[in-house]
Amino acid sequence: MIYTYDGSLEGLLTAVFEWFERKPGAISLVTEERYQPDAFTSCFEVLTNRSKADRVWKGLASRLDRDWMRKAYCTFLSEIPEMQQELFLFICYVFQHQAGAEKNYGNTHVLNIAQTARKVEREKHRMEAFIRFQQTADGIFYCGIDPDFNVIPLIVNHFKNRYADQQWVIYDLKRHYGIFYDLHTVEEIEMNVDLQQLKHAKQTLLDQKEQLYADLWKNYFKSTNIVARKNTKLHTQHVPKRYWKYLTEKL
């Protein structure tokens, strides 16, 4: 049997609710987008329902600690199709077992959630590390990103707490949305601009001193290197090449 849902977290949680209502045995969960009907498997369309989803989420929160709730959320943000199914199975597994079942690292679902969450957390951490703001002429600090996973929801607090006295924008170029902090609150934004232009803000749009600080930083990066210790393998292990595009010091 196949369950289709709209791809949202609420949809996935509603699917859990429906499954427990019906207990149809093993199912596979796919998004409506990816669903390809075939003649042999029957299909059930999950209609996202806020209150059903809330009940599942609350029930889950009463069984899992914050750490594990976050792991579940991170797995959702991974956007990996197979892991959405795993998340569904993990939640069912937790409801069907005694409290504490999430610590059973011998179980495949548990391990898959733990490992996926780790990947997502790593990507989040990388964004916190590798984002390089450029100061625009109107004083806003801007950076465009295209992370492997949808990590913006995870980095909001970090940047809000840290950069409380400057306006900033972080924009996900891949998922076409971003966040803007206006010195008071963080808002989700969508910009209708040519993506190419956003990759790196044009010189004319930048603050006069922006180039100076970028240059100073590049010089610092060079000076702090110890040539006698060169170890390129270790270097690329820490900063995989696909992240170099973010880094001012690598431009």
């Binding site: 100073l216 610092y220 900063v239």
Partner: protein, 418 residues
């Protein structure tokens, strides 16, 4: 003006880079006044140098003018190099602007000693005060304690810095006297002890009165230069263990000596820095701090040097085969930690998972242990029955053969040294 600033930055970052500490962890300073920055409990590396070291802090000297002549230091007064000095405002502006762009976690400020200790410390203090009090900066600050500075200045600095450090430089007093006759370990011990006591005192007071400010919340650290003088690994790690214990240090850093002069007391120019040895020392340090090893188990009269071809955890296990194999499904957590190929994270997972049933090989592999290494030291639910007991050197042979490429590469690097 900007060109001179770039020049100064090059000189003063270059001179500061031999201090290897770049940690930005351990501070929970909050951005309460809606200013700029905060502490991050585990620190963030914002980039990595081409030698693979983390870059987290803007690490600079206020000046490289120095009245001392320590043979191992590029800034020593007899060295014919270009000298420069930042103004207080320049350091503040660099820090603020780098931080705003998310280049760094904070500032690591050190200095050559000009005029005298107090004069230098006072200047460093002015920078941190301006950052904290005028710029509302709450990012990380690592400040060097200048040996010989007055208690008052050190106490005041501790109110604004997250971490303070002062370097032992050489692992033993004899080594230090050889290269820096003007210096002594006592110059380091005194301020380390003073700051440690202040930290304790402030913490006690804070328990009673909430408004007592933080004092060096990320603790103290120190650094030893490795390979400039002929100490054994045992000498080095015993000193480290002693300082961890006596001064509650957060970290001891080991910095492989990079030849910077033709002084006949030290390795000649062009000698490769002892990177593998440095790495083994860090592994030992790690085993002491997170794996429950006593330094005397790892290094002692019979084994004054760490093995170069295998890591210290594996060498310990091979010397102590009578403890193995252990049963993963019943052994103590502490003992599981000691198995080569099992790290802290995996050990914790094992202990949790086995409550749900006996663990099998495929599960151990999925949990993430290095099974091919660990298998010689453990049994689990479906371990193959082993007819014969292997000797330490045989097991070492198996493991080395399996991870050949990795070990050979580093081993070659080490061979160049001798």
């Amino acid at each position: 003006m900007s060109e001179r600033l770039i020049e100064k930055l090059n000189i003063l970052a270059d001179a500061a880079k031999y201090d290897v500490s770049c940690s930005s962890s351990g501070s929970d300073r909050k951005n309460t006044n809606k200013g700029l920055g905060n502490g991050h409990h585990s620190g963030i590396c914002h980039t990595y140098t081409e030698d693979g070291r983390c870059v987290s802090l803007l690490k600079i000297l206020l000046t490289n003018h120095c009245i001392f002549d320590c043979a191992y230091c590029v800034s020593r007064r007899s060295n014919d190099i270009e000298r420069a000095a930042f103004t207080v405002d320049e350091v503040v502006e660099l820090t603020m602007n780098f931080y705003r762009r998310n280049y760094i976690e904070g500032l690591f400020l050190s200095s050559g000693i000009f005029k005298n200790a107090d004069f230098t410390m006072e200047r460093l203090l002015r920078v941190v005060k301006k950052l904290r009090l005028e710029e509302n900066y709450n990012g990380y600050i690592h400040l060097k304690t200048i040996p010989g500075a007055s208690d008052e200045l050190i106490t005041e600095a501790g109110l604004y810095a997250d971490r303070m450090s002062i370097n032992l430089e050489m692992p033993t007093e004899t080594g230090l006297k050889l290269l820096a006759p003007e210096k002594s370990h006592d110059d380091v011990v005194k301020p380390l002890g003073f700051v440690k006591n202040q930290i304790i005192q402030f913490k006690e007071e804070k328990k009673l009165i909430k408004s007592v400010p933080k004092f060096v919340p990320a603790g103290q650290s120190t650094q030893m230069v490795i390979g400039a003088t002929p100490e054994t690994d045992k000498d080095i790690m015993y000193t480290a263990a002693k300082f961890y214990k006596n001064f509650s240090l957060k970290r001891v850093y080991y910095s492989g000596y990079i030849p910077i002069s033709n002084d006949s007391r030290m390795p000649v120019l062009g000698t490769q820095p002892p990177l593998l040895r440095e790495n083994r020392l860090y592994q030992t340090d790690w085993l002491m701090r997170f794996y429950g090893f006593d330094v005397r188990e790892l290094l002692n009269e019979e084994n004054p040097h760490l093995d170069t071809d295998i890591d210290p955890k594996l060498s310990w296990a091979l010397r102590n085969l009578h403890h193995f194999p252990i049963d993963i499904n019943t052994a103590d957590y502490q003992m599981i930690l000691r198995v080569p190929g099992i790290g802290v994270g995996s050990a914790q997972k094992i202990v949790q998972a086995r409550k749900f049933g006996k663990l099998y090989i495929h599960q151990l592999k999925k949990i993430g242990i290095a099974y091919n290494r660990a298998k010689h030291f453990i049994t689990c639910a479906d371990s193959p029955f082993q007819l014969k007991d292997f000797q330490g050197h045989q097991i070492k042979g198996f493991i080395l053969a399996e991870s050949q490429s990795k070990y050979l590469k580093t081993a070659n690097n080490q061979m160049l040294l001798f």
